[in-house]
Amino acid sequence: MASNANQRRARRVQGQGRSLLLPQQQPGTPRRARPQRYSASDLSLRGAAWKLLSGIREGQTQVDTPQVGDMAYWSHPIDLHFATKGLQGWPRLHLQVWSQDSFGRCQLAGYGFCHVPSSPGTHQLACHTWRPLGSWREQLARAFVGGGPQLLHGDTIYSGADRYRLHTAAGGTVHLEIGLLLRHFDRYGVEC
C-alpha cells in the first residue's frame, strides 16, 4: 500500500506459499581454476529509503569445488523483500569471491558489485570481479604462499573513478540470475 514492494525472485521456494521469490545466483568462471570457491554476498542499501522486510542482508554461499572446467556453481538462493519510499539508494549486490586452497585457507579472489535491475522480470546479470594486484612482491607471495592484498577501505569498490588508479587483476565473472517483482511503483509515477 504505502509504497513499493520490490520483490526479487528466481525460483519459488518449494512448499512455501510466499509471495516472495528468490534470485538464483549462479556465479562462476574464475579465471584460473582454483580448488574451491565461495562467495560472500552482501546487499548494500544506501540511504534510509529502503527497508528490508525479509531475507538476509548478507551471507555466504557454500564452497564449491569445480570438478569440470573453471566454472564454480553455487546455485545459492537469495530471497529478499524490500519496501521503499523513494528511489534513492537503489539496492545493489556486493560480491566477494574467495577461494579456498588445499590447506583450507581462504584468500580473496575478487570484489564486485552490481545493481539490482530496475525492471521486473528475470535478469541474467554478470558481475565482473577484480582484485587488487599489489606490488610485485605481493604478487609473488600470492603465487607461492597464498593470501593477497585486500582493500583497506571498501568504499573504493563502488567509486569508479578512484578505483581506476588501482592496479587490479580480473577475478572472473559471477553470473546472477535475478527475478524481480515490482509492485506499486506505477502508483508513484515510476515506470519500470
Binding site: A2, D42, K51, Q96, Q100, D155, T156, D162, Y164, Y188
Partner: protein, 1617 residues
C-alpha cells in the same frame, strides 16, 4: 576514370536492373491493365524501362536543381516541365543506393542529351514553382542528403555533357545485352516500389494526360509514363543529329563488341579558381572575426555578467577563440540564432565537465600517489575458522595475538656450588637488599613525623584558641589523638628496632664473612661492605632524645593514670559486689545452718555453680620512676644512642677475588665445576613447550644473563605460563632444577610498559659435592665443630617481564579485546562512510569548516550548498545546530510516502515480523496481498505482549511471585536462545544431505536370506519404522496412537452404607439391584450378590488437545481392553518444525472411569416391561503423560501407576486386596492401581537433537579431558546407558556434575514436624520437592538443551525438570545424613531421567523426585527401569554390570567390578567446590496471599464448570462445599492417607440425603490452566441428571518458599428422593 572499367560495371548493373524492371513490368501487367498497351509499345521493354527510370531520375535531379538560386545550366529550365515527382530515393534503403546514384547520373546524362534536342520547343513557364510543393515534403526530412546531392549534381551536370556520348553507348549496349544477362540487382520489390510508390495516387489521370501537357499540375505524374515514347524519339534525334556513327552502332547493333562503344577523352579538369568561385556562390563561410557583443544581444540590452552579481557559474569549457568566433558568426546568420547566446553575450555553455586532473595516472606514478582509500594490505591466506565465521557480530577472523616474554636473567640465591663464602655473600646481599628497601621507605622517619604532628595537635587541642567549640568534641578528638599517638609510637618503636637489628645482622654477617675469608685465606666473592658513619650534632641530638623520652614518659604516665582510674572504678564496683555477696553469703549460711538440720540431703547442693567472688584488691598507682626506667631501657635498646653516629652500610663489588692458583685444590675444583655448569630456561605456554633460551654458562657470581625476548603468537587466552630452569653439567643431560610460574599479564600491560619483575624459585634436589661447594639439601656448618647446621636448597630468582605485544596499528594484540579492523567482512559494513572527510569530521563542525576552507570549496556551487549551509549554521553558533548530519538531504523531497505511512502498512509489518521470527508470526503463511485484507486483530496479541513485557501480568498467574518468575524465565529463555542461535546454524553433512545407503554385497545377501525367512514367524518382532522429518508435515498428518492394554487393581465399588441405600428406591444402583455387587464383606447385601459379579465396569478415556476417545467398557477390577485409540495431533500455529514440536506443552490425560448404570424407572409397575437406566461415570483416576515425553521417547510402553485420588468415595481397594492376596501376593503388596499402555506417534517423528556445540567452561582442562575420555569409554561398553559427567548450567557453561551435590538444608518447619522419625521426615521432604512444579527444559528452552539450575535457582524459578528435582532432593537427603546418590537412568514414562537413591541401613530406596514416591529396590512397579550411572557429591560411578534394571543390580559402589568410578587412584578427586549456595534461605509464604489465591481459584473453577455445562443449570451445594473445605486441610496434613473412613462417615452424617460422588485432586501449583485441565479431565461436569448439584472446594497449603500444595475437591450430589 577508366572508361572501360566504368563501362563493364555499368553493364552488370544494368542487367540487374533490367531484370528487375522486367519483373516489375510483369506485375504491372496484372495490376494495372491500362498501362500495358503503352508499355508494350516500344519494341524492347527493357530499354524502355530503363529509360523510364532514367528520365525519372533526371527529373528528380532537376527538381533538386531548382532549389538553389544559382543555376548553372539553362538546360534545366527547359527540362523543368518534364520533371517528375521525386522518387522516394532517400527512402529507398539498402545496398543499391550508391550504385544506383551512379547509374542515375549516367542515365540522367543520357536523358538530358535527348532532352536537349527533343524538348527545346517545350514551354518552361511557371513549373518550377508548382513542382516545388510535392518535393518539399521530401526535403524536409532529407535535408542533409539532398544538399549533398545538390553539390554533387552540379558537378555532374558539367560532366554530363562530356559523357553524354559514352552514356549513350552504354544505354545502347544495355539493350543489346539485356536478354542474355541473368537478373539480379535491386530486388523486384524494390524496383516495384521505385516505380509505383509515388505515383500510385493518380495513375489514371496520368494516363489521360496528353504527352505534351500544357503545364497543368498533373504533368508531374505523367512523366513516368511519358518518357519511354519520348525517349525513343529523343534517341532517334540524337542518333541522327549528333552521333551518326554511334547511332549506327546502336542500330546495327547488338552484336558490336565493347570497344566500339569506347571513346578516349582527356581528363576533365576544372581550375581551382573556377571552382572556388563556384563554391563561393554556394557555400557560406562564416567569418573568423570577433562578433561585437551588441550583435549577439537583443537591441538595447546591456550585457549582464551573472558571476559579477555573485551567482555561481561553472567554469566554461575551453574553446579556441577562433572557433568560438566562427560559431558565433554562424549562429548570427542563422534564423533565431540569438537564442544560443546568454545574457552576457556569450554562447551558452554548461560547466566544464572535464576533471582538471587525469584520472588515470601513469603507471609508474602509482607508488607515490596512493590515496588512503586505495590502500591495500597484504593478508595471508587465512584458515577457515568455523566458529568465528558463524559468530554474530564479529565477522573478523581470530587474529594472532602475541605475548612478549622478556627473560633478562637468572640469579641463584643458592646453588650447590656455592662455597661457604658464597652462602654468606648471598645472605649479605639479601640483607642489604632488605636494608635498601627499608631505607627507601624509611617508615621509622615517617612514623616519627606523624607522632610529632599528633603531639602538636594534642597540644593545640588542649589550649583551645577557639572557645566556641564545644568541649565535648575537643575532648573526643583529643582522646582519639591520644590513642592514635599510642598506636603510632608502638609502630615506630617496632620499626626502629627492626631497622636496628637489620643493621646489626648485616654487620654480623659481614664480620662472619671477613673472618671466613681470613680463615680460608682466599676470597671468592667481590663483595665488600663499607660502613659509613654520619656524624651528628651531639648536643641537639641529645636534647631531642631527652625530649622524646620525656614526652613519652608523660604520655605513658597519663595513660597509666587513666588506666588506674579505670581500674579503680572497676575495683570499686567489684568490691561493692563482693561485699553484697559476702553479706548474702553470710545470711545464707545462717539459713543453711537451719536448713541443714532439717534437710540434710540438701547439703549436696552446697557448692554453687559459680565460684565465690574473690575479694578484689585495689590497683596500685603507677610509679613514675619505674615508667621512666622502662622507657629508657626500651629507647636504649631500639634507638640510636644520642650522639652516636648513624651507620650507613654500603655494599660494593669492589673486592678482588683470589685467582685460582692461590686457592686450595678443593676451591679450584669448585670453580671448575661451576664453569662446567650451564643453565637454560624453557618457556611453557599452556603446559606446552614453546621455546627455550640459549644455554648459558654459570658465572662465578652465579648470575646468568639471557636477555632474550620471546614473542609468543597465540590463539587462545593463555591459561598458564611457566618457565623451567634446566641445568646442564658438562655433557650430561640437563636436569630440571625448578619451575617458575609467571603470572599472565593484565590486558592493560603492553610491551614497553611492563616492569621487570623477579620471581623466586627453589628446587628440592639434594646435591652433595666433593669439593668446596656446600651442595644443596645437605646440612653444612660454618663452625668448625659442625654445630649450628644449615640446610639450604637451590634457589634463585628469574627476572622477566611479560606483556602483550602491540600490533602495527597500535592495537594491543590481546585475545578478547583486540579486533583488527581489516576483516573479511568489515569492508562491507563500512560501505556508506563518508570517504573524504571521515565520519568523525562530520560530527565535528569545526573540522568540517576547516576542511571546506582548505579544499577551497566553492560556496556557490549548488553541489556544496547543504554542506555550506551546515557550516554556516555551525559556525554562526546562535542558530539551531542539529545534532545529526543528514546524509541524504534531498531524500525527503524524493520520498513517495512518509515514514509513518510506510510503517503503517500492515502487510509490510506482517512480513517483517514473520521474517524476524516473532513467535506469533513465526510460521504465518500466506500473507494477503492487500492491506485491506489484513485484519487489525492479527497484531493484537503481539501488541499486547509488547505492552505487557514489563508489566507483571497477574491474570494467568494470580500470585505475583509466580508471575515474576515467569517473566524471569522468559528472559532467561530468550538469552539462552540467543546464545544458541549460533550453534543452531551449525549443520553437519547429514543434516543437509539425506543419502540412502548404497546396497552392498552383504546387504544384498541378507536380503536374499530374508526371502527364505518365515512369513509369519512364531515370535514376531517389532520392526523399526521410518522416521519422518518435521518439515513435510501438516495438520492431520500426525496421529497419536494409544494402545490401552489392561489395568490392574482398580478400586472397586464399595457398597454404600445402608442408610444411603434404603431410602432410595427408584434410584438404587442398577447393578446393585439386578446384577448386584459381589461384595462378600458387606453384611447387608452379601446374600444378594452372586459370586463373581462385576465390582466395577471401568473404561478408559484418553483426552489430548481436547479431543476425547474412549474404550469400550470392561468389567472387573483387572480389566483387559486391548484397544487402540487414535487421536489427531495438531501443532501450535501449524508449525511442525522440530523446535516447535519440542515445546508442545500439551498433556495426554488417560482417565479411568467406572460406568455406573442407574435405574431411572419411576414406576415399579413398568419394571417388567422395560429397562430405563441412566449411565453415569465415576472418575477413578488418571495417568498424565506429557506430549514432550512421547515425542522424545518415540514410543512409551509399560505399566504405569494410576494416579488415584486419596479419597474416592464409594470405592475401595481393601477387599480387593483380600480377595487377591491368595493369588498374587506380590502385586497386592504394592498399593495403587496400574495400567498397561503403549503410546506412540504415527508417523514416527525425528526428535530434535541437542546442541552439538561445545560450551566454554571454567573447569580444569584436564578434568574436561578426563570426562570426555570417561564418557567415551562408557559409551563404548554400554552405548545405551546414560552417562553424565558434565552438564550445562543456566548461563550456558559446562559444569562438572558433582558440583551440584552438596548437603542443603530443607525448610526447618518440615524438619520440626517429625523430629524423631527420619523416615517420615524424608517422605515429607520428598513431598515438598515434588510440590515444585515440573517443567521440562525442552519446553522452556525450545529444545535447545538440557540446562541444570542450582537448587536455589530452582527454588526461585519454582519450575524445573527431573534433574533439578532430583538434585534438590538428593541435597536434602545428604543434609539429613543419609547416603544419597543421584541415579541417572531411564524410567517410564519420562525416558532418560534422574532419580534419587538412598541407603536405609539395610536396603536401598529409589525416590521419584517428581512425584515424591519411593520404591524399594525390588519393587516391580518402580518406574525406574534401568540405571546408567550414580552420582555422588564427590564421584561418578558408571554401571558396568551386565544388567541395568534396578532389580538385578548391586548398588554397592565400592565394588570396582560393578561400578566404574570417575575419580580413582589414578585421577584423585581434586576437591571441586560446589556451585550450590552455602545454605538455602526460606521465606515463609504469605498465608493471606495463599488464602486469597485459594478463593480466586475456587471462583475460577466454578465459573469454568458452569461454562462447560452450557445447556444445564449448575447448582452449587454450599453446605457440602463447606464440609469439603473443612476436610481438605485434614487431607493435606495426613498427606491423603487413612482418613477416608472418617471422612465418609462425616459426609454421610451431614449429607445423608444425597448420593455423593467426588474426589479430591491434589497437585503442585504452577498456573491455573493445569488445574482447570485436571478438573475438566475428570469429567465431573458431564453429569446431566436434572437435579444434580455440585460442590467444589479448594484448599491451598503454603509451604516455605512459595511452594503451594493445591487440593481441589470436586463432587456431584444427587438428591435421593
Amino acid at each position: 576514370m577508366n572508361p572501360k572499367e566504368e563501362k563493364v560495371k555499368i553493364i552488370t548493373e544494368e542487367f540487374i536492373e533490367n531484370d528487375e524492371d522486367a519483373n516489375v513490368g510483369k506485375r504491372k501487367k496484372n495490376s494495372k491493365v491500362q498501362r500495358q498497351p503503352r508499355k508494350k509499345q516500344p519494341p524492347t521493354t527493357g530499354p524502355d524501362k530503363m529509360m523510364l527510370e532514367e528520365s525519372h531520375l533526371g527529373n528528380q535531379q532537376e527538381l533538386v536543381q531548382d532549389e538553389p538560386q544559382t543555376r548553372l545550366l539553362s538546360v534545366t529550365a527547359r527540362r523543368g516541365p518534364r520533371s517528375l515527382p521525386p522518387i522516394p530515393s532517400a527512402s529507398r534503403t539498402g545496398f543499391a543506393e550508391f550504385s544506383m546514384r551512379e547509374r542515375m547520373r549516367e542515365k540522367l546524362q543520357a536523358a538530358r542529351s535527348k532532352a536537349e534536342s527533343a524538348l527545346l520547343q517545350e514551354i518552361p513557364t511557371p513549373r518550377p514553382q508548382r513542382l516545388r510543393s510535392p518535393t518539399v515534403k521530401e526535403l524536409e526530412t532529407e535535408f542533409g542528403t539532398e544538399s549533398g546531392k545538390e553539390v554533387g549534381s552540379t558537378q555532374q551536370e558539367d560532366d554530363t555533357q562530356s559523357y553524354a556520348r559514352v552514356k549513350f553507348h552504354v544505354s545502347a549496349r544495355k539493350i543489346k545485352s539485356k536478354p542474355q544477362v541473368p537478373p539480379g540487382f535491386p530486388s523486384a520489390e524494390e524496383a516495384y516500389n521505385f516505380f509505383t510508390f509515388t505515383f500510385d495516387p493518380e495513375p489514371e489521370e496520368a494516363e489521360e494526360k496528353p504527352k505534351h501537357g500544357d503545364g497543368t499540375h498533373q504533368e508531374e505524374e505523367e512523366g513516368e509514363e511519358e518518357p519511354p515514347t519520348e525517349e525513343g524519339a529523343n534517341r532517334m534525334d540524337e542518333e541522327e543529329l549528333l552521333h551518326g556513327k554511334d547511332a549506327e552502332d546502336f542500330l546495327l547493333g547488338l552484336d558490336h563488341t565493347a570497344d566500339e562503344f569506347l571513346a578516349v577523352r582527356p581528363a576533365h579538369y576544372e581550375s581551382v579558381h573556377v571552382r572556388l568561385q563556384r563554391e563561393k556562390e554556394m557555400l557560406f563561410i562564416p567569418s573568423r572575426l570577433t562578433v561585437p557583443t551588441y550583435k549577439k544581444l537583443p537591441e538595447n540590452v546591456q550585457p549582464r555578467f551573472l558571476e559579477d552579481e555573485g551567482l555561481y557559474i561553472g567554469e566554461r569549457p575551453e574553446v579556441a577563440r577562433t572557433n568560438q568566433n566562427i560559431m558565433e558568426n554562424r549562429l548570427l546568420t542563422q534564423e533565431s540564432g540569438r537564442r544560443w547566446f546568454g545574457d552576457d553575450g556569450r554562447i551558452l555553455a554548461l560547466p566544464n565537465p572535464i576533471k582538471p586532473f587525469p584520472s588515470r595516472p601513469p603507471v609508474f606514478m602509482q607508488e607515490q600517489s596512493i590515496k588512503a582509500e586505495l590502500e591495500t594490505l597484504y593478508k595471508k591466506a587465512v584458515k577457515y575458522v568455523h566458529r568465528s565465521q558463524h559468530m554474530i557480530g564479529s565477522g573478523d577472523p581470530a587474529g594472532n595475538f602475541q605475548l612478549d616474554i622478556d627473560i633478562s636473567g637468572l640469579i641463584f640465591t643458592h646453588h650447590p656450588c656455592f662455597s661457604r663464602e658464597h652462602v654468606l655473600a648471598a645472605k649479605l646481599a639479601q640483607l642489604y637488599d632488605q636494608y635498601l628497601a627499608r631505607h627507601q621507605r624509611n617508615k621509622a622517619k615517617f612514623l616519627t613525623d606523624k607522632l610529632q604532628a599528633l603531639r602538636n595537635a594534642v597540644q593545640t587541642g588542649l589550649n583551645p584558641e577557639k572557645p566556641h567549640q564545644s568541649l565535648d568534641t575537643i575532648q573526643k578528638t583529643i582522646n582519639e589523638y591520644k590513642s592514635e599517638i599510642r598506636q603510632t609510637r608502638k609502630l615506630r618503636d617496632a620499626e626502629q628496632e627492626r631497622d636496628r637489628t637489620l643493621l646489626k645482622t648485616i654487620i654480623k654477617v659481614w664480620k662472619e664473612m671477613k673472618s671466613l675469608r681470613e680463615f680460608q685465606r682466599f676470597t671468592n666473592t667481590p663483595l665488600k661492605l663499607v660502613l659509613r658513619k654520619e656524624k651528628v650534632d651531639q648536643k641537639t641530638d641529645e636534647e631531642a632524645y631527652e625530649a622524646e623520652i620525656q614526652a613519652e614518659i608523660s604520655e605513658l604516665l597519663e595513660e597509666h593514670t587513666e588506666e588506674y582510674e579505670q581500674k579503680m572504678e572497676e575495683y570499686r564496683t567489684s568490691y561493692q559486689q563482693w561485699k553484697a555477696w559476702k553479706k548474702a553469703q553470710r545470711a545464707k549460711k545462717k539459713k543453711k545452718k537451719q536448713a541443714t538440720e532439717e534437710h540434710p540431703e540438701e547439703e549436696t547442693e552446697e557448692p554453687y555453680p559459680e565460684e565465690d567472688p574473690v575479694k578484689p584488691s585495689p590497683p596500685e598507682p603507677t610509679d613514675r620512676a619505674a615508667v621512666e626506667q622502662q622507657v629508657r631501657e626500651r629507647a636504649a635498646q631500639s634507638r640510636r644512642r644520642p650522639g652516636e653516629p648513624t651507620l650507613l652500610p654500603e655494599l660494593s663489588l669492589a673486592g678482588s677475588v683470589t685467582p685460582n692458583d692461590q686457592c686450595p685444590r678443593a676451591e679450584v675444583w669448585r670453580r671448575e665445576d661451576v664453569k662446567r655448569r650451564s643453565v637454560y630456561l624453557k618457556v611453557l605456554f599452556n603446559n606446552k613447550e614453546v621455546s627455550r633460551t640459549v644455554s648459558r654458562q654459570l658465572g662465578t657470581d652465579f648470575r646468568v644473563h639471557f636477555g632474550q625476548i620471546f614473542n609468543l603468537q597465540i590463539f587462545n587466552w593463555p591459561e598458564s605460563l611457566t618457565l623451567q630452569v634446566y641445568e646442564t653439567v658438562g655433557h650430561s643431560s640437563p636436569t630440571l632444577l625448578a619451575e617458575v610460574f609467571l603470572p599472565i599479564p593484565e590486558t592493560t600491560i603492553v610491551t614497553g610498559r611492563a616492569p621487570i619483575e623477579e620471581v623466586e624459585f627453589s628446587s628440592n634436589q639434594h646435591v652433595t659435592l666433593d669439593h668446596e661447594g656446600v651442595g644443596s639439601g645437605v646440612p653444612f656448618s660454618f663452625e668448625a665443630d659442625g654445630s649450628n647446621q644449615l640446610i639450604l636448597m637451590t634457589s634463585g630468582k628469574v627476572s622477566h617481564s611479560v606483556a602483550w605485544a602491540i600490533g602495527e596499528n597500535g592495537i594491543p594484540l590481546i585475545p578478547p579485546l583486540s579486533q583488527q579492523n581489516i576483516g573479511f567482512r568489515s569492508a562491507l559494513k563500512r560501505a556508506d562512510a563518508i570517504s573524504s572527510i571521515g565520519t568523525s569530521g562530520v560530527t565535528d563542525m569545526k573540522k568540517l569548516a576547516k576542511w571546506a576552507a582548505e579544499s577551497k570549496l566553492d560556496p556557490n556551487d549548488p553541489n556544496n550548498a547543504p554542506l555550506m549551509q551546515l557550516i554556516s549554521v555551525a559556525t554562526s553558533g546562535e542558530s539551531y545546530v542539529p545534532d545529526f548530519f543528514r546524509l541524504e538531504q534531498l531524500q525527503q523531497e524524493f520520498n513517495f510516502v512518509s515514514d509513518e505511512e510506510l510503517n503503517r502498512s500492515k502487510r509490510f509489518r506482517l512480513l517483517h515480523l514473520r521474517s524476524q521470527q516473532v513467535p506469533e508470526f513465526r510460521n504465518y503463511k500466506q500473507i494477503p496481498v492487500y492491506d485491506r485484507e489484513i485484519m487489525e486483530k492479527v497484531f493484537q496479541d503481539y501488541e499486547k505482549r509488547l505492552r505487557d513485557r514489563n508489566v507483571i501480568e497477574t491474570k494467568d498467574h494470580i500470585d505475583t511471585h509466580r508471575a515474576v518468575v515467569a517473566k524471569y524465565l522468559q528472559q532467561v529463555r530468550e538469552s539462552v536462545i540467543n546464545r544458541f542461535l549460533i550453534a543452531k546454524q551449525h549443520f553437519l553433512l547429514a543434516d543437509l544431505v539425506v543419502e540412502e545407503e548404497v546396497p552392498n554385497i552383504s546387504i544384498l545377501g541378507l536380503n536374499l536370506f530374508k526371502l527364505a525367512e518365515q512369513k509369519r514367524p512364531l515370535r514376531p518382532r517389532r520392526k523399526g519404522r521410518k522416521k519422518v522429518t518435521a518439515q513435510n508435515l501438516s495438520d492431520g498428518d500426525i496421529r497419536l496412537l494409544v494402545n490401552i492394554i489392561r489395568a490392574y487393581d482398580l478400586p472397586v465399588r464399595k457398597p454404600t452404607a445402608s442408610k444411603f441405600q434404603q431410602p432410595s428406591r427408584s434410584s438404587r444402583t442398577f447393578r446393585e439391584k439386578h446384577a448386584a455387587s459381589p461384595d462378600t464383606r458387606s453384611p447387608t447385601h452379601s446374600a444378594d450378590y452372586p459370586l463373581g459379579q462385576v465390582l466395577v465396569r471401568p473404561f478408559v478415556e484418553v483426552s489430548f488437545q481436547r479431543t476425547i476417545c474412549h474404550t469400550t467398557t470392561a468389567e472387573g477390577p483387572n480389566p483387559s481392553w486391548n484397544e487402540e485409540l487414535e487421536l489427531p495431533f495438531r501443532a501450535p500455529n501449524g508449525d511442525y518444525s522440530t523446535a516447535s514440536l519440542q515445546s508442545v506443552k500439551d498433556v495426554v490425560f488417560i482417565n479411568i472411569f467406572d460406568e455406573v448404570l442407574y435405574d431411572v424407572l419411576e414406576d415399579d409397575r413398568e419394571r417388567g416391561n422395560g429397562i430405563h437406566t441412566r449411565i453415569e461415570r465415576h472418575w477413578l483416576g488418571c495417568v498424565k503423560i506429557p506430549f514432550s515425553t512421547i515425542y522424545f521417547q518415540a514410543r512409551i510402553d509399560g505399566t504405569f501407576k494410576i494416579d488415584i485420588p486419596p479419597v474416592l468415595l464409594g470405592y475401595s481397594k481393601e477387599q480387593n486386596m483380600i480377595i487377591e492376596r491368595d493369588f498374587d501376593s506380590v502385586r497386592s503388596l504394592s498399593e495403587g492401581s496400574y495400567i498397561t499402555l503403549f503410546i506412540t506417534i504415527e508417523p514416527q517423528l525425528v526428535p530434535g537433537e541437542s546442541v552439538r556445540e561445545k560450551f566454554d567452561s571454567q573447569e580444569d582442562e584436564k578434568l574436561l579431558q578426563a570426562t570426555e575420555k570417561f564418557q567415551a569409554e562408557c559409551a563404548l561398553k554400554f552405548p545405551k546407558r546414560q552417562c553424565l559427567a558434565t552438564v550445562i548450567d543456566i548461563s550456558g557453561k559446562t559444569v562438572f556434575i558433582t558440583r551440584y551435590l552438596k548437603p542443603l538444608n530443607p525448610p526447618q518447619e518440615l524438619l520440626n514436624i517429625y523430629p524423631n522419625n527420619p523416615q517420615a521426615t524424608a517422605e515429607l521432604v520428598a513431598r515438598y520437592v515434588s510440590l515444585i512444579p515440573f517443567l521440562p527444559d525442552t519446553v522452556s528452552f525450545a529444545g535447545l538443551c538440557d540446562l541444570w539450575s542450582t537448587s536455589d535457582q530452582f527454588l526461585d524459578l519454582l519450575a524445573g525438570d527431573e534433574e533439578e528435582h532430583a538434585v534438590l532432593l538428593c541435597n536434602y537427603f545428604l543434609f539429613l545424613g543419609k547416603k544419597a546418590w543421584l541415579v541417572m537412568g531411564n524410567a517410564i514414562p519420562e525416558g532418560p531421567t534422574a532419580y534419587v537413591l538412598t541407603w536405609e541401613k539395610s536396603h536401598y530406596l529409589i525416590w521419584n523426585p517428581c512425584s515424591g514416591n519411593f520404591y524399594g529396590q525390588f519393587d516391580t512397579f518402580c518406574p525406574l527401569k534401568n540405571v546408567g550411572c550414580l552420582i555422588g557429591p564427590d564421584n561418578i560411578w558408571f554401571n558396568i554390570q551386565q544388567y541395568d534394571s534396578p532389580l538385578r543390580i548391586n548398588f554397592d559402589v565400592t565394588k570396582h567390578k560393578l561400578w566404574k568410578s570417575f575419580f580413582s587412584r589414578s585421577l584423585p578427586y581434586p576437591g571441586l567446590s560446589s556451585v550450590q549456595p552455602e545454605e538455602l534461605i526460606y521465606q515463609n509464604t504469605d498465608k493471606a496471599a495463599a488464602a486469597e489465591l485459594q478463593d480466586r481459584i475456587e471462583k475460577i473453577l466454578k465459573e469454568k464448570i458452569m461454562d462447560w455445562r452450557p445447556r444445564h443449570l449448575t447448582r452449587w451445594n454450599r453446605y457440602c462445599t463447606s464440609t469439603l473445605r473443612h476436610f481438605l486441610p485434614l487431607l493435606e496434613s495426613s498427606q491423603g492417607e487413612d482418613i477416608e473412613d472418617d471422612h465418609r462417615a462425616e459426609l454421610l452424617k451431614q449429607l445423608g440425603d444425597y448420593r455423593f460422588s467426588g474426589f479430591p485432586l491434589h497437585m503442585p501449583y504452577s498456573e491455573v490452566k493445569p488445574l482447570i485441565d485436571a478438573v475438566y479431565s475428570t469429567g465431573v461436569h458431564n453429569i446431566d441428571v436434572p437435579n444434580v448439584e455440585f460442590a467444589l472446594a479448594v484448599y491451598i497449603h503454603p509451604y516455605p518458599k512459595n511452594v503451594l500444595s493445591v487440593w481441589i475437591y470436586v463432587a456431584s450430589l444427587i438428591r435421593n428422593r
